[in-house]
Symmetry: C2
Subunit: 133 residues, 2 copies
Amino acid sequence: MPAPNSKHWLDEVKWNNDGLVAAIAQDIHSGRVLMMAWMNRESLALTIREQRAIYWSRSRQALWRKGESSGHVQVLHDIALDCDGDTLLLQVEQIGDIACHTGRQSCFYRGLQDEQWQSREPILKDPDQIYDK
Amino acid sequence: MPAPNSKHWLDEVKWNNDGLVAAIAQDIHSGRVLMMAWMNRESLALTIREQRAIYWSRSRQALWRKGESSGHVQVLHDIALDCDGDTLLLQVEQIGDIACHTGRQSCFYRGLQDEQWQSREPILKDPDQIYDK
């Protein structure tokens, strides 16, 4: 239980001008950084309540329950807030071992080599198959 | 060398309205996520040229050569771009093993427990000592 008169934990987050906070998802088993997305107050509260990553889609302007169409849910194991309160770090179990909509394990699949961003990670599942569910 | 007529790698980054891209630094040895900061075009180009993390300080509106006053330089080992091009992931060697200005290893030292953000990581060095250099 929070101490009396203490600030609500959601109020300690430093929301940006759009009411959002950056959220990094890291695979709790491999340690790989899987993706970075955004959360608003509602999605963060839901993430804690449901113990799964729920982001705010800036393009759709809607809650984004990660995995709702793909099945690639991110089960929450831990959440941390950084020193200036504007970034979250989630430790997640990545169901299906695919975080990226391209069918790859991580969204960070392009490395800089010879002055070009070069893909260096296999597609584990065809996106058409992921989103036909 | 880039192929003729190919897009410059800096132009493949999806800069936000402020001309910035999010940059996550991960410790190449421990796999810990150390911090998240921002880069503009100049700081990213310098990061690659000098092979160390150089951010853009939004508060100071100036280049931020990580470690320039603390000595806690981040030596660059690898850089990756995410699927939608708006977040970078750096693999770094963290000199001094301290990334956070509070004197902790990682900026993500507060975990959510009992509905409070609770510090759970030791201060390795007094910040007054870090910045007296």
